[in-house]
């Protein structure tokens, strides 16, 4: 079975997941504060997470081609399929970008342009200094241009790969072509993904910055992408597809899962320790907020994303056995989703609370105390507030919806081409892959 068939049953399951997602998002919207902070922060969280996974799939294909790697060739269609989600993912980011123009949401502190006016008593010199990058035009058009360029390259990879199936010959001109595009794509995605991470995620803490942040976030994306690849391959194999993918391929993916989990920890800790050691208030605020108000996730993040893969995947055979590597993949997919929660939620709540506070004090200060949602984030609150300091059921529902959409797009794309490519010069190597 070299042709994946996207059955109507699978479609229905994924559409059901999307339905759960839409219901969760509607429920979140209805029970939200005046700015719908919980809704918008969940929306941003999942949009960024899944768009990142699809970017990393394209990125890793380019890495493999540039590095003369052949082990992945049998299942490279999975990465092509994942990267096709960018068409949908960019749409969500543009909704957020439009929201900055239209003031639909108050996620980004820098979006409040009155702060840039030196005559305003709340004039913010730091944001003024950053305003040449942190502004609505950069957010919207930067997203279009950068994600557009990613889409252009991933589309090229896909086209070349499909054309190679039909017209590939032993001159391997397709592969040479692919190599050129990959080599151009790598520096572009390397720098532009950092800029987009600053724009989408890091600017939520608009006064704060860290030079390590982009790598750390990109590694989170990467680990999630490998997890999802392992899970999909195991699922496809259990359905009788991809007989060519053997435990050595899974072993290599498991090694990447292990190695990049450790790399993620390295970056997490490097960022943390430098800030902790220097002990400058402007920098420590990022960790202070998360340490005080999100202690479960703060430490849970390290346990889930470092200790679990480190201890379980250390052995040779746990990387090869579908059960253990699949289990770790599920844990890490959720773990890195929680990691993004921890990057996005605290900052978004602080900004929204600040805005809510000035909104309420401007109108009628008495109602502020009565608003049940206004207090979260900014002040010390209980560490267990569902949807705010911990992902609640609605957050999980939203995640399921986005996951359903991601897999729907991915599997649809996967069903459009044979699973194992033909005429790729590295195909034989990949078929005989043995470690």
């Amino acid at each position: 079975m070299n042709q994946y068939i996207f059955t109507s049953k699978q479609r229905n399951v994924l559409i059901g997941a999307m339905g759960i997602g839409i219901i969760s998002m509607v429920l979140t919207w209805m029970n939200d504060d005046a700015f719908h902070t919980r809704f918008w922060s969940n929306f941003l969280h999942n949009s960024v997470f899944f768009l990142g996974i699809s970017v990393m799939a394209a990125f890793f294909m380019a890495v493999c081609v540039t590095a003369y790697a052949g082990w992945h060739t049998t299942f490279k269609r999975v990465w092509e399929a994942y990267s096709s989600y960018m068409y949908v993912g960019v749409f969500f980011m543009l909704i957020l970008g439009l929201g900055v123009y239209m003031h639909w949401h108050h996620l980004y502190h820098w979006a409040d342009e009155s702060l840039l006016d030196p005559n305003n008593p709340e004039y913010d010199k730091i944001l003024h200094g950053k305003s040449s990058f942190l502004n609505k035009n950069w957010y919207f058009f930067g997203t279009i241009i950068v994600v557009g360029s990613w889409i252009f390259f991933s589309r090229k990879f896909r086209q070349i790969s499909l054309d190679e199936d039909k017209n590939g010959d032993t001159s391997y001109s397709h592969h040479k072509n692919l190599k050129v595009y990959s080599a151009i794509f790598l520096p572009i995605v390397g720098f532009s993904s950092a800029a987009m991470i600053w724009q989408w995620v890091m600017s939520l803490d608009s006064h704060w910055y860290s030079t390590l942040f982009a790598w750390y976030t990109a590694t989170s994306w990467f680990v999630s992408m490998i997890s999802l690849t392992i899970l999909l391959l195991i699922w496809l194999k259990s359905n009788g597809y991809y007989k060519e993918v053997n435990d050595s391929h899974i072993h290599d993916l498991g090694k990447f899962l292990f190695a990049f989990s450790v790399f993620w920890t390295y970056l997490w800790f490097s960022q943390f320790m430098l800030i902790w050691y220097a002990n400058i208030g402007e920098e420590t605020i990022y960790f202070r907020e998360r340490y005080d108000n999100y202690p479960v996730l703060f430490f849970g993040n390290l346990i889930i994303n470092f200790l679990v893969p480190f201890l379980i995947l250390m052995r040779n055979d746990t990387k090869r056995k579908f059960g253990s590597v699949g289990l770790v993949s599920i844990i890490l997919l959720l773990g890195h989703w929680v990691d993004f929660f921890l990057m996005i939620k605290p900052a978004a709540l602080i900004t929204a609370n600040h805005a809510l506070h000035s909104l309420h004090s401007g109108e009628h200060g008495a109602e502020h105390a009565a608003d049940p949602h206004a207090a979260h984030g900014a002040e010390h609150v209980s560490a267990f507030v569902e949807g705010f300091t911990l992902p609640g059921l609605l957050e999980l529902g939203t995640f399921l919806g986005f996951l359903g959409l991601f897999l729907f797009v991915g599997l649809y794309s996967l069903s459009k081409a044979p699973l194992v490519p033909k005429n790729d010069p590295y195909l034989e190597e990949s078929l005989h892959h043995h470690v």
Binding site: F269, F272, M273, W276, Y277, N279, N316, H434
Partner: protein, 173 residues
């Protein structure tokens, strides 16, 4: 001590594929292989020889864990009991500051421990002179050796010839 000497008959091959084929032949003929020597690790040779997975990495894990404990407990004792000092206004027991050194000692203990273990297990080390069958097994020849004590010489030689050994030699170790 004459009993400790081993009478070895060995064949040299030009190619690792020949060697793997020869090992398979020897296994089917139930000949007891003394050892094989190759200039570089050969993919797929271990399972053919029926070697068990090395336990060196388990030792490595234990050495690493020892290093972790040594560093962490050592620094805990030094900075809280033995010689407490305030660095940059941090508490005495500053765990984040211990992590890099803990990591380094983990790596150091694991690396040195595994190296020493490897040397001891294989009878290597400074000043130790090991006899070897042929100099070229470190360069471009692949060697399959039989102990005449456990395999009859005729069978061994005929197998070596049959499987394409370019040279067949004898040596007493």
């Amino acid at each position: 001590m004459a009993n400790n000497h081993k009478e070895i008959v060995f064949g040299l091959y030009n190619d690792e594929e020949d060697l793997i084929r020869a090992v398979k032949e020897a296994k089917t003929a139930h000949l007891d292989i003394y050892d094989v020597f190759t200039p570089f690790p050969i993919h797929g040779l271990d399972p053919v020889l029926g070697l068990e997975e090395s336990r060196l990495h388990i030792a490595g894990f234990i050495y690493g864990a020892l290093g972790t404990l040594t560093a962490f407990l050592g620094m805990t004792w030094i900075f809280t009991k033995d010689w407490p000092n305030v660095f940059g206004g941090k508490p005495y027991w500053s765990v984040p500051a211990f992590i890099p050194i803990t990591f380094e000692l983990t790596v150091l203990f694991a690396a040195i421990g595994m190296t020493v273990t490897f040397y001891i297990v294989n009878g290597l080390g400074p000043g130790v002179v090991n006899q070897h069958l042929d100099d070229r097994i470190t360069d471009d020849k692949f060697c399959l050796a039989f102990d005449k004590g456990s395999v009859s010489e005729d069978k061994a030689v005929s197998l070596l010839k049959q499987t394409g050994a370019v040279e067949i030699n004898h040596k007493t170790l």
